[in-house]
Every structure is written in C-alpha cells, then in structure tokens.
C-alpha cells in the first residue's frame, strides 16, 4: 500500500496533514505514534476511505480486503455480538454463524455474552466484539485505531497475540496507538507523526522496553515537548 503525497485541510489554510508519503508492506507490522491532534486518525480515515484527501492518494497494489477498527468502536446496541459479527462475515462472503462463533471465541468474548445485546456490554466486551468484526473474512489489511482501548492487561496480551497470528497468516497490520509499549511489543516499524507529517520512522528489532523508551523520547522531541 502506498500513501502518495497525502494532504488534508478541513478548513482552508489549516492543514491537518501535509504531504504524507509512506509505503506499507504487508509482511511488516506498522505502528503509528503521535500526540493528540498529530493527524493520526485523519490519516487512518483517509486510508480506509472515510475522509477524502485534499490532495494525494492511497494506492493499493492488490485488491485485498481492508478492515478497519475505529477508535472507541460503537456498535448497534440493540443487536447481539453474534448478529453483528455474522453480518460482517456475510458481507465478506463467509459462512456466517459458525465463523462468527469462531471469531468471538478467538477474541476471548465469553460464550454467554454472544447472544446478549451489546447495550449490556462493558467497554472491553465492545472492543472484543469490534475486533472480531474486524477479523471476519480474513482481511488482507487491518487498520486499527487504538485496538487495545478498554482492554485490561490480560485482554491486551491476548489481542496482541491474536493479531500476531493473523499477521503470520498474511494479514498486513497498521496500528495507531497512544500506548508506546503496545507498539513496541507488536510492531516491526513505527512512524512518528507530529503536526500533520510523518517526522520519523524507526525499525523495532528487539520489542524491548528500551526501544519503547526511545520511541517515547522521539515522540516528545517531534511533538516539541522535550529538550532533546
């Protein structure tokens, strides 16, 4: 996937993104890091087609399924988790109920919750359901905006492992998060965004705390809050 010279202005003269260029390879896991207002969510929305770029374009080399997990995903509250995930399966041409059950089990949603209305769910349960929705149809790319939001430590570890498994099966991952340690644990590359531009990209080799700390320092540097 190629991001070619992407710029976005919601209000004329106030760019949210300026000439973003980046190339994404499905064999790698990418993390996008930035402080609030850096332009991460806008970039992600442009990639998934929810927002139109003022200029530039996203070019996909293969027409694979692109799946998107929004930040704080809201789901129709009068539907059950099984109905919502079944819908995604049917939309993506998969046998619905059985696949939906497999996905809900994979994300760790307890079986007794599958047929309950989403209205009764906690934030973590909603997040797991949304991740299952996202995984339906074996997507070629998953674009994840804060995928660990609302999950406890065990849930985060479980979802990180699940995402790794999907990646090993050939699914490209592009993940945006405020949590540096999650990015350090999962990703192979990190892009640091500040004031509408990708300022720096770094490979992550050891997935260690030291790398997480370095990333945080670089993030603060580019965001103008540190004296590096």
């Amino acid at each position: 996937m190629e991001l070619i010279d992407i710029s976005k202005e919601y209000i004329q003269g106030e760019p949210v993104l300026s000439n973003v260029e980046y190339s994404l390879d499905r064999k790698q896991i990418y993390g996008l890091l930035g402080i609030n207002g850096a332009g991460k969510s806008t970039l992600i929305k442009i990639i998934v087609g929810l927002v139109r770029a003022s200029s530039g374009k996203v070019e996909e080399k293969d027409a694979s399924l692109l799946s998107f997990l929004p930040e704080h995903p809201y789901l129709p509250v009068d539907m059950t988790a099984l109905q919502v995930v079944s819908f995604a399966c049917r939309m993506r041409g998969e046998p619905d109920i059985e696949t939906a059950r497999t996905l809900l089990a994979a994300v760790g949603l307890k079986q007794e919750a599958w047929e309950k209305k989403i209205r009764t769910f906690s934030k973590g349960m909603c997040q797991r359901t949304a991740i299952a929705y996202c995984l339906a149809g074996n997507p070629g790319w998953m674009i994840l905006d804060e995928p660990m939001s609302g999950l406890d430590a065990m849930g985060r570890a479980h979802i990180l492992e699940l995402l790794k498994q999907y990646h090993n099966r050939g699914c490209g991952l592009f993940m945006c998060s405020h949590i540096v340690t999650d990015i350090a644990r999962l990703c192979d590359h990190v892009c640091i965004m500040a004031r509408g531009k990708i300022r720096e990209t770094m490979p992550i080799k050891e997935h260690s705390m030291a790398e997480a700390e370095l990333m945080e320092q670089r993030l603060l540097f580019w965001s103008g809050n540190a004296s590096l």
């Binding site: 998934v48 998107f68 539907m79 819908f87 939309m91």
Partner: protein, 275 residues
C-alpha cells in the same frame, strides 16, 4: 441464489437494519400500541349517535398518522442520527460497503420495517372495524366500508416513504441527532401546515391582504415539500367514497418520485462527505 456484491451488500444491510429496528423496544411498543388505536377508535365512535363508521375511520386514520410520525422521528431519524453521532457508520462502511449502498440499504431496511408497522395498523383496524362496526345496524355503519382500511395502508405507506427519504436526505449532510430531528420534524410540520394556509389564501379577502411575494414564497416552499394531504385519495378514505384509480396512481407515483429524488440527492451528498 447467486447475488452480485452490490446486491448482497444492500440486501445484507437492509436485513441488518430491519433486525436492528425489530429488536428495539420502541418499535415493539409501537407495533403493540397499534392494538390500542382501533380500541380507542371504537370508544370514541361509541360516543356518537350517527355516522359511527365514519368516526371510526377518522380516528383510525389519525392514529395511523400518529404512529407513522413516531416511527419517522423516533425510529427512522433516530437510527440514522445514531449512525452519525455514535459513528456506527464507520464500522458498517468498513464492512466494506460503498456509500451509495449504505444509503439505499438503510432506506430499504427502514421502509420494510415501516411496511410491517403499516400492515399491523391495517390488520388491527380491519379487525376492529369488521367486528364492531360490522355488527351495528346500517344507520350507524354509515360512512364505513371495510375495504377502505386496506387502502389506508397504501395511503400511509407511500406518504411516510417520502418522509423517511427526507430523513435520509438530512442524514446525508447533517452533523447529528439535533439537526436530523429538527429538519425532519420541520418538514413534517410544514407539510401539514401549508395546505390549509394555501387554501385560505385562495379566498379573495385574505389574498388581497397578503403581499404577493409572501404568497409566492409559500407556494414555492410547498412545492419542495412532500404532499402529505393526499388530496382526493385521503378524502375518499376518510369518507368511504369510491377511490378513483387515477388518483391512486398519481398519488403513488408522486410519493415514489419524491422519495427517489430525495435519495439521489442523499447519495450525491453522502458520497462527498467526510465522516
């Protein structure tokens, strides 16, 4: 059965929308509440000494309008508003789904749900009329024909299809619940209020006192609104008169065309919108 991707997307989201509505408490209450409409109509009609059948039809028709308005504002417009406010459209559009499929499918699901409500209204009104009014002596039955009740289904259904399409149109560019509800209810209000105003302006005395630009403005605005009075068709139902086939055809075409135009505009606007 093999279906193309587009058809499948529209079919699946329409089905999803229908299930979403059927599972909502307000819709179930509304459908359950349709049982009360004929009952209330019977009680009110019983207070009259003659033309009980006509009173029954009038009350049933008013009740049907009330239930349909509740559906349009509190089910159709609210569901669409939630898609924007709570960003449910993000997750649905990432299904993946094209935006014009999204608009058509949401409208399709809402229309089918409304058809269920209109059918429930018709059946309960028919049963009430058949058992109560049908049992009365001819003198009291006056103004009632059970055949007019199925006609009521068409009358209500097409009229509110137009209004639901108006809600979809506002959804395509509005920022959330407040705007969608405000604009849809305003269209509803003006659609009901303008015909009597226009009729009144036909009188010479009032016409002479009203500035020309104001009369023309009211007429122009009226042309953009869905015509909810249903002219002769509504009158025929309310008075159990024979329905002219031409009136029925024109009525159906008018509302279908109105809904079609609103949807096309909604598609064009929603396609270009940043979400």
């Amino acid at each position: 059965m093999l279906r193309s991707d587009s058809t499948r997307a529209i079919f699946e989201l329409s089905r999803f929308t229908l299930i979403e509505i059927i599972q909502s408490r307000v819709f179930r209450l509304l459908v359950g509440g349709t049982l009360l409409i004929p009952l209330i109509a019977v009680i009110i009609a019983s207070l009259f000494m003659a033309d009980i059948g006509k009173v029954y039809l009038d009350v049933v028709l008013s009740g049907a309008h009330f239930a349909s308005m509740v559906f349009t504002l509190f089910i159709a417009a609210s569901l669409l508003a939630k898609d924007i406010d709570q960003r449910i459209c993000y997750i649905i559009l990432s299904a993946p789904m094209k935006r014009h499929h999204y608009i058509l499918a949401r409208y399709g699901g809402l229309s089918i749900a409304f058809a269920i409500l209109a059918a429930a209204l018709t059946i309960t009104a028919y049963i009430g009329g058949y058992f109560y009014i049908g049992s009365l002596a001819e003198l009291y039955q006056s103004g009632f024909s059970a055949l007019m009740i199925p006609m009521m289904f068409f009358y209500i259904f097409f009229q509110y299809l137009s209004l639901i399409s108006v809600a979809v149109f506002f959804f395509s560019w509005a920022t959330g619940t407040a705007e969608i509800l405000l604009f849809t209810s305003s269209v509803m209000l003006f659609s009901w209020a303008f015909p009597p105003v226009l009729a009144a302006l036909q009188t010479e005395e009032l016409a002479s006192q009203t500035p020309v630009f104001l009369r023309q403005l009211i007429e122009v605005i009226y042309q953009f609104l869905p015509h909810l009075n249903g002219s002769n068709f509504a009158l025929s139902i309310a008075h159990s008169l024979e329905i002219n086939g031409r009136d029925l055809l024109l009525y159906t075409l008018e509302h279908s065309a109105y809904a079609g135009i609103s949807l096309v505009l909604a598609l064009l606007l929603f396609k270009r919108r940043d979400l």
